[in-house]
């Protein structure tokens, strides 16, 4: 590991250079990054560019797709719903309508949740994370109750007790968002164990970030799932950052699927910005483990289009990196990929856009109009009578 500080940049500038060659596991302090951005310095990863270290699995890629139009439209509906929900959450947080400090947006990562959950049944299960809104919406959560919860309202999923990071809805298979990095993986193992007991072919998906692969529960859970052949898919949403720490610095290898292999688990890296690729992979493996239970590890590579939380100045990202983000927008990639599908008329897309817009509006109004919970409720509900 190597850390670039102000001194390094100043030396570079003194030398008259405007390009900085950095290696795979470099981090840059925010003061240095500020200088880099101000002086238009180009970061040159050379051969060490993280992407080059990753084996691109071609298996689930397809230039064309032959999924039925309804499924495709359903993907669009879910992705757009997440996108607009998050835009509203962002606005509401920025304007102090949402209390608290912690709203982690799923903007730019929509394809993973949607591609995954489209392959799941209602009685399949997920564990989610601090960045959970997308997972919940994709799994079918009621956005009225979600937005109400974000505002701390009585009508919210948790009656205002949980907030953004703690929404749970077992009836539709949501075992809970979670404020503790890495805590969902063991819980997912337990759910998969329950599926084995129930013998109902249901599966559990555990979402978590690249940063979570460094938490102890990661290794414990992969081993546990393997030795008990649990029907669980570990989906690592690799957005290259744990807050401001790049994966290339924080993880021993940028090839996260290696870690899965270390536990003798079938592991694959996919493009998590392409909903079709995510769907193809997850669908394939779910089919497989419904019949033949056992864990799968999927590293879905994606991009966080905004700050870690609303309010994050992102002073650790170069301007160039930020400018390049739109290329990876999963909605753009989706629309490009369906452009030549004659069986998907623009009018149907527009219908969906309208529908989503009105649902979001309805949710926001519902949340806004809902009352706060009565204060004396504060110490209720922690034990079941």
């Amino acid at each position: 590991m190597e850390v670039i500080t102000k001194k390094d940049i100043e030396a570079l500038l003194r030398g008259g250079s405007r390009s900085l060659t950095i290696s795979i596991n470099t981090v840059i302090t925010s003061i240095a990054m500020d200088l880099i951005n101000k002086n238009g310095i180009i970061l040159d990863y050379g051969d060490a560019k993280p992407e080059n270290f990753r084996e691109n699995n071609k298996r689930f890629k397809s230039e064309k797709n032959d999924l039925p139009p309804d499924l495709i439209l359903s993907m669009y509906y879910s992705m757009l719903k997440i996108r607009l929900f998050e835009e509203h959450a962002k606005f509401s947080k920025e304007n102090q309508i949402i209390p608290g400090d912690f709203v982690h947006l799923y903007l730019g990562e929509e394809a993973i949740a949607v591609g995954t959950c489209q392959a799941l049944n209602k009685n399949d299960y997920i564990t989610s994370t601090h960045r959970g809104h997308g997972h919940l919406i994709a799994k079918g959560a009621d956005i009225k109750k979600m937005f109400a919860e974000l505002l701390g309202k009585e009508t919210g999923y948790c009656g205002g007790k949980g907030g953004s990071m703690h929404i749970t809805d077992i009836d539709i298979g949501i075992l809970g968002a979670n404020g503790i990095v890495g805590a969902g993986l063991p819980i997912a193992c337990g759910s998969a164990l329950a599926s084995k007991f129930d013998n109902d072919r249901s599966v559990t998906v555990s979402f978590f970030g690249d940063g979570a692969t460094n938490q102890g529960t990661f290794g414990e859970s992969l081993n546990f799932a393997k030795i008990f052949s649990l029907p669980v898919i570990f989906i690592c949403e690799n957005n290259s950052y744990a807050i401001s720490t790049p994966i290339s610095y924080g993880c021993s290898s940028p090839e996260l699927s290696k870690r899965g292999q270390g536990y003798d688990i079938e592991s694959v890296s996919i493009n998590g910005d392409d909903v079709f690729e995510v769907y193809a992979a997850v669908n394939h493996y779910i089919d497989k483990i419904r019949k033949n239970p056992g864990p799968i590890f999927i590293e879905a590579r994606t991009h966080r289009h905004v700050g870690h939380w609303v309010g994050d100045p992102q002073n650790y990202r170069s301007r160039k990196e930020m400018e390049d983000l739109p290329v990876h927008d999963p909605l753009k990639i989706f629309l490009d990929k369906i452009e030549d599908r004659d069986d998907i008329e623009d009018s149907r897309l527009q219908e969906i856009e309208k529908k989503v817009a009105s649902e979001i509006k309805e949710a926001v109004i519902f949340a806004d109009k809902s009352p706060y919970p009565p204060a004396q409720q504060s110490d209720k509900d922690y034990l079941k009578e």
């Binding site: 749970t168 193992c189 034990l383």
Partner: protein, 328 residues
């Protein structure tokens, strides 16, 4: 009546509850293969079957979290830490997940989970294998805490714990594992949240739990000066304050006995509650462990942990200035 050991009593409770309800299952290290230190699971892998007696790797965080996941799915897991001290490697799953899941969901979910924690000292097992961790659980809302004092209460309390819809930390005084008590063959249940009045008295109330109940009994046997009421708490959270207050109202004096350290302890809590509502005839005394990690060497450990003699002196001290001896 037949006599069985604490270990056997726990074993019976586990077997009976697993036979009664197929949603009950158990996870722990070596519990199916004969290497389990506690031995409370002996024979269960044969009796109940190895699909429900699950031998785990040394991954306490994972199997605790897995228990939470299975509980959310409607199962009723029991987990065993080989020693209660090892909860520290799984603390997040207990404190931040199991205990908070219900509240954070606004009461939408529940986590019926029983955690077996072999607890305490007196066995020369040193600092990492002898801790009294009840406060760790009591101070956390969302998890109940049970601490039996022997075979009889263990069996009845464990059955209630397993049937409870909430996480329950079940602390076993391992120094008593081999100690026998009369335990009926017929099924019985001891409800959580109820203390047991071991013997009645009018001069002094002694409140104890776990192994200290046995020690307090010995202390009582060694004296006939006073009429002493001994209360075995059985459940530490929720606490049966009613029974304590009623007794102290009668006796006007209170001696609290615990193996745990005094600072921020259950005894200090009870003292506060009693002081808040009763005017006592003498100051409350607490017998507890000295404040240091538990040592290995027997004489050191004996000095650190409460002994019967300490309880006897405690009785003298509380009665000292204010008590009148029973004139025989």
């Amino acid at each position: 009546m037949r006599e069985i050991s604490l270990r056997e009593a726990i074993n019976e409770a586990l077997a009976e509850e697993m036979e009664r309800d197929t949603r009950v299952f158990m996870m722990g290290e070596d519990i199916a293969t004969g290497g389990a230190y506690a031995g409370v699971t002996a024979g269960l892998s044969e009796k109940i079957g190895t699909d429900r007696i699950i031998n785990t790797p040394i991954s306490e965080s994972c199997f605790t979290g897995a228990a939470v996941g299975a509980a959310l799915r409607g199962y009723r897991p029991i987990i065993e830490y080989m020693l209660g001290d090892f909860v520290m490697v799984a603390a997040d799953q207990v404190i931040n997940q199991a205990a908070k899941a219900r509240y954070m969901s606004g009461g939408r979910v529940c986590v019926p989970l029983t955690i077996l924690c072999p607890t305490g000292g007196y066995l020369s097992q040193a600092a990492q294998h002898s801790q009294s961790l009840e406060v760790f659980y009591i101070h956390t809302p969302g998890i109940k805490v049970v601490y039996p004092s022997g075979a009889y209460s263990a069996k009845g309390l464990l059955k209630s714990s397993i049937r409870d819809d909430n996480p329950v930390a079940f602390l076993e005084p391992k120094v008593l594992w081999d100690e026998v008590e009369e335990v009926p063959e017929e099924e019985y249940i001891i409800p959580l949240g109820k203390a047991n009045i071991v013997c009645g008295g009018s001069d002094l109330t002694i409140v104890a739990y776990g192994y200290q109940v046995k020690q307090a009994k010995k202390a009582l046997e060694s004296q006939t000066d006073y009429s002493i009421e001994l209360i075995d708490l059985q459940t530490l959270d929720p606490l049966d304050l009613g029974t304590i207050l009623k007794s102290v109202e009668k006796t006007g004096r209170l001696l609290l006995v615990q193996e745990d350290y005094r600072v921020c302890s259950l005894s200090e809590h009870i003292a506060y509650e009693v002081n808040a509502s009763i005017d006592l005839r003498s100051k409350i005394e607490i017998i507890s462990s000295k404040f240091a990690p538990v040592p290995f060497s027997p004489e050191l450990e004996k000095d650190l942990l409460p002994q019967v003699e300490d309880i006897v002196s405690g009785i003298q001290k509380v009665m000292g200035d204010s008590g009148q001896k029973i004139v025989g």
